[in-house]
Amino acid sequence: MRTLSYREALREGLDEELARDENVVLMGEEVAQYNGAYKVTEGLWQKWGDKRIVDTPISEAGFIGMGIGASMLGIRPVMELMFWSFHSVAFDQMVNNAGCVRYMSGGLINCPIVVRGPANGGTGVGATHSHIPEGLFAAFPGIKVVAPATPADVKGLIKASIRDNDPVFFMENTLLYGTTGPVPDLEDGDHVIPLGLADLKREGSDLSLIAHGRSVLHALEAAEILQRDHAISCDVLDLRTIRPLDQDAILATVRKTHRAVLVDESKAFGGVSAMVATLIQDHCFDDLDAPVKRVCTLDAPAIYSPFVENDQLPNAKRIVAQVLTIA
């Protein structure tokens, strides 16, 4: 295993898929000549040229719709949203054209498109730039949603997403790009992680922390503290994919520990965790020793101030406090 940053692992995944399939094309604002606003695509334009790595104007509805149209013809566009927050100007194309065209055509069409980019708060860019839309899009059947937390996962999942024949909305995190972790060596074969499989990132016995994306890191940190300071042993389950969702893994951990705290960077109304809590209370009604609790982003638009921004987001401190209410 090598140590790579999340950004490098992601780029490697993109690069490998560009090499594997000539129908893969990367598009978005500043992805080519500028090397990407967050440098995810750095070097790819130099390597692959104008045809495969394409800069677009600031027209998200236009170029994402264009990608969807091209995908109907068998192109496999990987579209970067500079921020996932900019989905708001392309929403119709994403939910109606990518999400519904297969259904409305009775299965005649499929859209093998990936839309990717960072979806997170915590970078001081304020309310309009800090939307966290995993739950928003997972609500639309026809769409798949992925939110990887580690370098190995981001590589394996981007590759699976590009090969998937349905539209996959791939949500990264600006604050993870620089984090590092082990990634399988190239000699060990194609590193592809199927969508729909959660990953138990830490094993414990007393309580289940269930999270995705950067919240997994907070959950792991909280689990450490809980173990050390409170002798509470936690499973940390990383959902990795939101839709398809690994319900079996969720129910398994809860049936083992009988208590769950969900960590979710979304707001509480409509977040992924509302769905997961609903599933757990339904399927594990007799297993639960306490209500399912959640740690979400505080329910206001994202505040700018660097002094309190992190307090609005899930963090280890808030998780520990929430766990202690039911442990």
């Binding site: 094309v25 091209a70 259904y103 009775g106 299965g107 005649l108 024949n165 839709r243």
Partner: protein, 360 residues
Amino acid sequence: MSLADSQYARLDFATSPINRALTAEQKIGLLTQMMRIRKFEQASLKYYNAGRIGGFLHLYIGQESVAVGTISLCTPNDHTITAYRCHGHGLMSGMNMNECMAELFGKATGSAKGKGGSMHLFAPDKNFWGGHGIVAGQTPLGLGLAYGLKYKGIPGVALCYLGDGAVNQGAFHESLNLAALFELPVIYVIENNGYSMGTSQKRSSAYRGCLAQRAEAYDMEWDLVDGSDIYEVRAKTHIAMERARTECRPTILEISTYRYYGHSVADANAKKYRSPEEIENYKNNHDPISTFRTRLIQEGVITAEQADAINKLATEEAAAAVVFADQSPAPSIDDIMKDVYWEVDNQTEAGRTGRHFFND
């Protein structure tokens, strides 16, 4: 419309190369297609009123020359996509009346298995990509078809249709800039029937000469077409298609046309926002079918009796489609959950991993 009136007498587009090349048989083919579309629409109207078709029904009656004229120029490399007023484009693309009517009836034998309905006919195998309900939502998709063709090195053209009311949507503007900037082989065909629902062109759009002229904002070519003359439709569309094919440059074509019925059959105001004279003028003086029928008789290509026979055949074909639709099975409740994900439908490993659906 004054435009149509004034241009009508000016040029004879029968003499343009693409029309001179037509055999008698091909000319009769054009007439036949227009008649088939009209008969299909008349049959749908009847059965919509009888409660056999749900949702909205946007009839193409009056506009037939647009789909027939433009799509008659398409090669197997060319692709089309349009809005919800899509029956004409579907039939002209080669869909048969049975699958179309069955779709309107919501039957499992419909082109989309009864899942899409009247606004959502699709036949990708015939290069027809729908049938889209969100006004102008199809315009970036049309761009994407052109992008795909260029990317694959196929010398084809994407024809993307939209209404005169759709030009004011943001997605269309974004598409135009991208089309011109990326030099994509797309033609945006504005089917200008003068109204978006009850709103006239003047009440919905600000423009100089005409809507197509907005192309200049993107340094793009444009042309105005009298839709009552299918020869003109073909001649001017041909020029735009050649531009797309050989120079990879986009065009906006604005084709003036008219719909005889309301916006949809449910439009109770159809006769309120348009004067009866306006409607009658079109029917009597600009109907694309009777105009072309007369023309072909004048040209000696066809006799009145032959034309009537074709019309009768079309009527019968539509009636048979109604019978087919009527006798076809409805989709089952189980069918509701199919055709959502390709991977699930194809029972791949990916389709079997994780929970895809959240019903209990």
